[in-house]
């Protein structure tokens, strides 16, 4: 076991799957000789060859379409978006061709769409987006968004082995900032299962991806005030782990929903509805949402800082909710 970054953990998982399963291959822009804009596939082409690490023209709908076509022949393609923001350029192909394929005509599409999402790195409106909701709202594709190196490795492997299309969102803020000991052998983390990131009794924060770490920092501050926060890291956004959501609400009776994605139509709404359905009588206070603003992701650091949910927002809301 070695200290491994979030980025390296994804690389490891992908590499191991390519080593053990010759039907896995990578396809995307600048992933070969260059190793990808974020170097997730650095060195892959030297080891696996350019047949299995395919540099494509700049054509996201073709990348997804080709991955889908190849998957119909029994391959397991892993397609990279250079930035997840560009997924909009393949939207129709994903939502209408790929996601509906099994329902409509029974053809499974065992492919993974992966790439860097999220803000906090001053990437501006087109290099910082969180596109999860478009796909959480699309039946037929699963959505995964790990927060830790261990989960990142285990989930990329599960995503590759899944018989359904999986959107794998890598948070670029975490790539080289988050490190932990990661088992350097084969293991998987199941899709569809949330994880208690921190136990607590006073209130629950349900969150995912980079915001797990924001929640953690807030929890540490709050602990000093005697407020013990439970953090539920969803890990998979579709299908949601309704059981885990309900369990933590039933335990603490107060809940903050925290995400980096913009507010209106964000995942917090869906979770609020689920809690209403499953644990309405267990609520001792209103469900609180902490999210980014309803704007594009602004570029300038003071603007982006204002835009994103902050540790102090979580602390403030937790105190307020505690006192409710």
């Amino acid at each position: 076991m070695a200290q491994t970054t979030y980025l390296e953990a994804i690389r490891q998982g992908l590499w191991e799957e390519m080593e053990s399963d010759p039907t896995v291959f990578c396809i995307g822009e600048d992933i070969g000789v260059y190793g990808g804009a974020f170097k997730v596939t650095d060195g892959f082409v030297h080891h696996f060859g350019s047949e299995r690490v395919i540099d494509t023209p700049i054509a996201e709908s073709a990348i997804v379409g080709a991955a889908f076509g190849a998957s119909l022949t029994g391959m397991r393609p892993v397609a990279e978006f250079q930035f997840m923001d560009f997924i909009g350029c393949a939207f129709n192909q994903i939502v209408n061709m790929v996601a509906k394929s099994h329902y409509r005509w029974g053809a499974p599409a065992p492919l993974v769409l992966r790439g860097p999402a999220g803000g906090g790195v001053h990437g501006g409106p087109f290099h910082s987006q969180n596109p999860e909701m478009h796909f959480v709202h699309t039946p037929g594709i699963k959505v995964v968004a790990p927060a830790t190196p261990t989960d990142a490795k285990g989930l990329i492997k599960s995503a590759i082995r899944d018989n359904n299309p999986v959107l794998f969102l890598e948070h670029k803020f975490l790539y080289r900032r988050i490190k932990e000991e990661v088992v350097d052998q084969d293991y998987t983390v199941p899709i569809g299962k949330a994880r208690i990131h921190r136990e607590g009794r006073d209130l629950s924060i349900i969150t995912y991806a980079a915001m797990v770490h924001t929640a953690q920092q807030a929890a540490e501050l709050l602990a000093k005030e005697g407020i013990e926060v439970e953090i539920l890291d969803l890990r998979t956004l579709s299908p949601l782990d309704r059981g885990a959501i309900t369990a933590t609400v039933k335990k603490t009776n107060k809940v903050i929903l925290l995400h980096e994605d913009t507010r209106t139509g964000g995942l917090a709404g869906e979770i609020a509805a689920v809690i209403n359905e499953e644990a309405f009588d267990d609520l001792d206070g209103p469900i609180v949402r902490i999210t980014s603003l309803d704007t594009p992701v602004p570029f300038s650091p003071p603007l982006e800082h204002f835009f994103l949910p902050k540790v102090e927002d979580v602390v403030r809301e937790a105190r307020r909710l505690r006192a409710y």
Binding site: R52, A62, G69, A70, P108, N164
Partner: protein, 430 residues
């Protein structure tokens, strides 16, 4: 700023084009257009549809030569004699099945509308007929004949339209929106035009990784090809030399819009030039031309030499779908093309050659009708699906499919030994 050449004849194959009689001798001269694209047609109709904006209503008119004689069939280089008859039978079956669909519609037994390939049967059937047994295809709405040729039954298509439980999609989708990756290797289209092109390139890529060079045939309309994704797919196939065989059905209309308002180019085959792949123009109402051009493209694909763009010139002889009377089409246009009906011409060709006698022909048609009637009977009496099945099948759970490479495990799975090393290279946003 570009300069054009005059269209010219390439005398490579020697003999001159025949203008009388039903058949042109094998190897008739092939003309090339002003950009060097071979044009196999034996006539080169010249007319243009344009908008007329005087008078109370804006409408379309046509100008050009519309009373030229019907050209002969270009003798096939590849079809064997008995294959002609088989192909003819498929074309008849295609048409008769669509007539049956029309009847079902009139009896209110169809859910939604019906799409027809009237006049385009050669383009659907002869192309599919040119595929090898392992090859893949993905039809568009007008290519119902191709589905028959590749082993689906009329009942499958009928049940799709009737939304029956026994339809290939169990009522989940209609029309040609179904497929089969197990046996018949048909990829289901979606409504959004063009998205299939990269998908078919991807099928070829997937097979190549398994050591197999496939031909992957699909069609696109002169309208549908305007979608950006079409050219993403064509370009990707060209760069990777994938086995895409693309037939652009230049049937002069896209719903109510004349091709003149879709594209500013006369021959869509010219687009092949810009993508670095071969293009060819054929008469889409000549079954032999369709077969031969597809056949050559399929062989190219099997040799791993990359994609081919075949532009088939023809005419959509009905409205967009059954609700559409196509009153926007200038009458002379229908008349011109009715004389070029692909089945009539092929039938005459076979009769003239004496490969088919009138009696045999009658029998063939009667048998097809009988078959269609049995299929209709089956489809009609089959049940509708149960409501709750609507909730099933969104995801493929662990055991619903055994996913394995169709053509064997990829061999050269890695090019070197060595382990994963950490990367510390500079990245875009930190």
């Amino acid at each position: 700023m570009a300069t054009k050449r005059k269209a010219s004849k390439v005398s490579g194959n020697g003999s001159k084009r025949s203008t009388n009689g039903a058949a042109a001798p094998r190897g008739s001269a092939i003309r090339v257009n002003e950009y060097g694209i071979p044009d196999w047609r034996l006539e080169h109709p010249e007319f243009e549809v344009f908008e007329v904006s005087s008078g109370p209503e804006v409408h379309y008119e046509i100008k050009g030569k519309l009373n030229t004689p019907v050209p002969p069939i270009r003798e096939s280089k590849y079809l064997r004699r008995e294959q002609h008859l088989e192909l003819y039978r498929w074309m008849v079956m295609n048409r008769r099945m669509e007539q049956a669909l029309e009847n079902l519609y009139k009896q209110s037994k169809v859910v939604g509308g019906v799409y027809f390939g009237l006049g385009q049967e050669a383009c659907s059937c002869a192309s599919a007929f040119a595929l090898g047994p392992d090859d893949w295809f993905a039809p568009m709405i007008r290519n119902q004949g191709a589905q028959l040729v590749r082993g689906f039954h009329a009942r499958d298509i009928m049940m799709q339209y009737m939304a029956k439980s026994g339809s290939p999609t169990r009522g989940k989708d209609g029309t040609s929106h179904y497929g089969d990756i197990e046996k018949r290797h048909m990829v289901s289209p979606i409504s959004m035009l063009g998205d299939l092109l990269p998908v078919m390139a991807g099928v070829s890529l997937g097979a190549r990784l398994q050591g197999k060079e496939l031909a992957c045939l699909t069609w696109i309309g002169d309208g549908g090809q305007s979608t950006g994704v079409s050219y993403e797919g064509i370009n990707f196939a060209a760069v990777r030399k994938l086995g895409l065989v693309l037939i652009v059905e230049s049937n002069l209309w896209a719903y109510s819009t004349p091709t003149e308002y879709q594209v500013a180019v006369k021959d869509l085959a010219n687009r092949a030039i810009g993508y670095g792949m071969p293009g060819v123009i054929i008469d889409g109402t000549d079954a032999c031309q369709v077969y031969d051009a597809t056949y050559e493209a399929v062989q190219r694909a099997h040799r791993g030499e990359g994609p081919t763009l075949i532009e088939a010139k023809l005419m959509r002889m009905k409205g967009h779908a059954i609700h559409d009377a196509a009153s926007y089409v200038p009458k002379e246009m229908h008349e011109f093309w009715r004389k070029r009906d692909c089945i009539d011409r092929f039938q005459k060709y076979l009769l003239d050659k004496k490969w088919l006698t009138p009696a045999q022909d009658e029998k063939l048609i009667a048998k097809v009708d009988q078959e269609i009637e049995a299929e209709r009977e089956f489809a009609d009496s089959s049940p509708m699906p149960e409501g709750p099945t609507a909730a099933e099948g969104v995801y493929c759970d662990a055991n619903c499919h055994r996913i394995k490479p169709k053509y064997g495990l990829p061999k050269k799975a890695q090019r070197s030994e060595g382990k994963l090393r950490q990367t510390e290279a500079a990245i875009h946003f930190k």
